[in-house]
Symmetry: C2
Subunit: 207 residues, 2 copies
């Protein structure tokens, strides 16, 4: 069984991470999505276990001290995190796992799973970033300006990532991320020793 | 000006390197092809400067001792090689350069241009490899069997490459190589320092 690929889509708030991840899941029906746990209240239409696992702050903190999280963060007063066991089981079963997380979360995942594929989504410009946050209609003007300042700070994490993709066109961005995933699966240094030996003996039908 | 990408397509004889490279050049009209010099006589339809630079053995050896070759090899009694200046000028001008070379040549290029993208084409199986060499109609049965033995030896170079692609379907192989090229251009560690700073400042329109 070949181990799955961990794919992290990260970047500043409002860069379009969620939209890109939704589109990727439609393109790759066998790809698993890393559903996060959170203490923030559900937005309209969000369902338990599909968009998030909604936990009380007490329950979240209990699991945190038990070391159950692969990554976690407190953003705008709410906790977000990914349960380690869920991800590890999916990868071991050969399933690719997609992560939609912020910069802090990406950094924690990289520290624990360094052989993941870390993709940084770049907003086209500050002006476009502002327009998108406003269109989301969930934040007031002050929050938006605060987020723009945070975007500029978060951009400094770019050198920690493997790939960067400017998200100025949904279709184009999805195609580029697809290409990155396709390419990463063909990396020689990602093959298990036993599979490399099979390839070198031209026993490629057994892979 | 962004520097071009050096893309090396290599693998055992008869794996389909030339066919794949031709198809890639059709997909990427702005991609440059590294035309080799050789001392072997032209095959029917081969044109000087397009398929090869055809040199006398004396002329080839003269340039060799002058250090003019990026890589060279003597295969079946004929010399093949790539002139260093041609490739370096293309890369500096921002043009991607495609290489279609054997294992020995790939090894020499890697030693001199380690940040190239090295792709190893894998034949589907020994039986298929034998069929392809026969269909080419340029070698006798003994030569083919000798090449099959060499294929198995050449497969041992696989771990020196960045990517491996099984060439069992032209369209699929071209698509995979295209994905690899697309992905490599998005690697953070391929960006020049100045370009990374522009991205981090969201001055992405200037790239």
């Amino acid at each position: 069984m070949r181990e799955g690929l961990l794919i992290v889509i990260s970047g500043p708030s409002g860069t379009g991470k969620s939209t890109i991840c939704q589109a990727l899941l439609e393109c790759f029906p066998h790809m698993g999505f890393s559903v996060s746990a959170t203490t923030r209240p559900p937005r309209p239409g969000e369902r338990e276990g599909e968009h998030y696992f909604f936990l009380s702050e007490e329950e979240f903190q209990r699991r945190l001290v038990q070391g159950k999280f692969l990554e976690w963060a407190c953003v705008y007063g709410n906790y977000y995190g990914t349960l380690r066991s869920v991800v590890e089981d999916m990868l071991a079963a050969g399933q690719d796992v997609l992560f939609d997380i912020d910069i802090q979360g990406g950094r924690q995942v990289r520290a624990q799973i360094p052989n993941g594929v870390f993709i940084f989504l770049v907003p086209p410009s500050c002006a476009e970033q502002r327009r998108r946050l406003a269109a989301r209609n969930t934040d007031c003007a002050e929050t938006i300006e605060q987020r723009i300042r945070e975007t500029c700070l978060q951009m400094e994490a770019l050198p920690e990532y493997d790939y960067w993709v400017i998200n100025d066109n949904l279709e184009q961005t999805v195609a580029t991320v697809q290409a990155i995933i396709t390419a990463e699966k063909q990396r020689v240094d990602r093959q298990k020793e036993a599979d490399l030996v099979k390839i070198m003996r031209l026993e490629v039908d057994d892979l």
